[in-house]
Amino acid sequence: MPSVQLDGEPVPADGALPRESLGSFGARPFGFYVHVPYCASRCGYCDFNTYTATELGGGASQAGYAQHAIAEIRQARKVLGESYVPVETVFFGGGTPTLLPAKDLVAMLKAIKGEFGLSADVEVTTEANPESVDEKYLVELAEGGFNRISFGMQSTRPHVLELLERRHTPGRPEQCVRWAYDAGFEQVNLDLIYGTPGETEDDWRASLEAVISAYPDHVSAYSLIVEDGTRLASRIRRGELPMIDEDVHADRYLMTDQLLGEAGYRWYEVSNWAVSEDAHCRHNMLYWTGADWWGVGPGAHSHIGGTRWWNVKHPTAYAQRIEAGHSPGLAREVLTAEDRRIERILLELRIAEGLELGVLSEKGRSAAELALQEKLLEPLPFADGHAVLTLRGRLLADAIVRDLTD
């Protein structure tokens, strides 16, 4: 079990929020994230808070999971009070939410609807592993109120999928996209990973072309990150796999933006492209614009009005807290005005809407001027008071954030 690290102040047993945070609840869009911490097997690169049956041993069972999550949803209602704030977005992520029976996912969604109500144009997404769903399953979800789905495709090349230790076969994700549209999903995303050791430029082009011909309305493309403690990391350390080359990543990113652009997808966040504004993932936009959301489940993170907190990570610990009627919150931080300012720069600079220049300090402002000169920021929005990254700027986003937060 991972060591318990607080890294913040403790959350009170009843989960009560500081008054100043609660006070502004409802002033921003509100969403729910439900974390489902189970996977059939662990992919070699993945360090998400997820567990296989073997890893869990005899611990918390998947079967009881929905009930525990629903109990937390009820706690949320108590903590947030009775004010009517309908939910704008719900996102089931993982792990592999689709390892649970569709009825469990639907039950959790119903609980959210029952406690809070859903807004008329609510966006309800689940992540899904391509091998874990079939037509029937997708129909059940769509009928239960899900309208957006995100499949972890990663690549179309067998040798890349094998290195990533994915369980599905090439072609399956495209099949899933068709099933999803047929079942009535309005929005479909495919997740891709580039820069896997051994992946060539042609391999990556093939993956992009496969995605484009499957016609999802949204694509997320991530560069493979070697996370400490993963099998991928130890294989690289032992020299079995070559170290990942950042220049190659840069080339892949440029190709991604070009091919997706030609096919009608526009970036709206560093790693996200969509065919239209309607196709944006509104839930992710909550994260990036400082809105409010409640994260349900082990290790889930929440944010309400300037307080961020996170739940205990392990499913067993989570189940124990819920059963005891306690908040599963492990620790929290109440953001200072400066923290919020830094976060705004950090988050908003990564989205195509950009960052209001007024947020910057004097030093940050001159760093922005310099970035403009270096063609890392777009000139037109800049003239309008916004910092929006250019293509080259997106590739250097973290460095620019460091400069702009000075």
Binding site: G8, Y222, I225, Y287, G295, L395
Partner: protein
Amino acid sequence: MPALPTDIPLPSKTDPALIRNFCIIAHIDHGKSTLADRMLQLTGVVDERQMRAQYLDRMDIERERGITIKSQAVRLPWRVDGTTHVLNMIDTPGHVDFTYEVSRSLAACEGAILLVDAAQGIEAQTLANLYMALENDLTVIPVLNKIDLPAAQPEKYSEELAKLIGCEPDEVLKVSGKTGAGVPELLDHVVRTLPKPIGDPAGKSRAMIFDSVYDSYRGVVTYVRVVDGYLSKRERILMMSTGATHELLEIGVISPEPKPADGLGPGEVGYLITGVKDVRQSKVGDTITAQNKGATEALAGYKDPKPMVFSGIYPIDGSDYPLLRDALDKLQLNDAALVYEPETSAALGFGFRVGFLGLLHLEIIRERLEREFNLDLIATAPNVVYRVIMENGEEHTVTNPSEFPSDGKIAEVYEPTVRATVLAPSEYIGAIMELCQGRRGSLLGMDYLSEDRVELRYTLPLGEIIFDFFDQLKSKTRGYASLDYDVDGEQVADLVKVDILLHHEKVDAFSAIVHKDRAYNYGVKMAERLKDLIPRQQFEVPIQAAIGARVIARESVRAMRKDVLAKCYGGDISRKRKLLEKQKEGKKRMKMVGRVEVPQEAFIAALSSDSDGPSDAKKK
């Protein structure tokens, strides 16, 4: 343990006829401190329980490196022919950087044990120390040490040593500092053959300060050798060079820990404490006399040691500058050879230009600053002092390469030279000559010490030997050569300043003064090194080495193309913010050279030369 004799003469009540003052001198590692250990034990001043190897190497840094840095004087009782005599034994350092330490010790003695490793024979510092002892009119006792070693060749080296000193081979004593064999005989010999101190017991008191050490508990402890008359406790004394007067709060002898006494008499060696806080008030080489009716003529003093090697020392964290200044002030209290003055570097910020006796001295001071004062430091590449004469007759003394005039109106540049002595088996003559030639040396002479050992004497530019010369010498002679050198003068040389430019900005900390023929090599090497050390920036960073406006080498660090974590991170914004904070911490530790962020480690790595010269010999 031998019982202490019961008739030990007390300090200030010791007949000078019973006193023998001597130091142990030798090449590095020939076993001085180990021999001193046996003397401490045999005379009974240190018992079995307290004994540890190289007892007198008291500083941590001496113990870790297994070398002696400071001389240590100890009073020992020794019974010969039924009378207990008093020996003042001084263990001295062997490394060439600390020759100054040896020379001061010699002035407190009438005799010297010249120790030679029976497996190595005479080496360069054997000669240097012998000549110093002879200049001081000391009686020299030749001794072969380490005769217990299987590789010892006592016959061969007795002859070598006898030839050098001008005595018979059978007059060379043979001991083992390890087993103690021959040491009692050596002590007897010291008593029988060394002259007793001459001085006037009835004269006005005069004592020579041969060392002065700052101790944080007791203030300045001054080590003296009384020549004439008596000093007694509570007396008021006068420092003859400054005219300052002090009360003697404590006076005594070291045996081997300080032992307060009533006073010190003629010929005796001991310490005194006056309460002064600064060693400069109790200056090495000064003469102490009584305040009332004291002597009017001072004893001959010492020349102040002259720093030969300079380096810029900077705190990595700029806010540590005042701490660094205090630390240097403190170390200087114990180290007359340490000089420094503030300087600023565009690249490194505020720091000091510090002068040292040599690279080992530099290394030790730096290590002590870091360890004893908890500082993180960057030191620029060491350099020697140049004298630059301009066409208009103006003269500059350059201790910092970045101050080397670069406007081309230089008439002449003078560099310091040394007289170097290399001792080695004769089969390596060719290799040594080749090396010295390559370092712009000129041969002064060559002598055979024995059939197969030669002494080569060279004039060499100091700047050519402070880096890797000794390493090269060792490797070209399979470790058999030894080196000694002494600053000797200066010579006109064809020297140029090579600047290093990062993104077209000169980095003062990397400027170096090198011989014209070596400038290109230096430039290429530095540019290559920096290319690997400087992280990629958002723009391409050209690295150039230049002499004046002429670029002699260039490299470049390609622009960083990707610096973004393009991963799905969900709602864990706290982690992202903390990561940013960590990165910004890292950024703060970068030094800005123009717009280029240079990590401290890059400076350190670029400035640490491939090898550290003679000091390496002592890293065990």
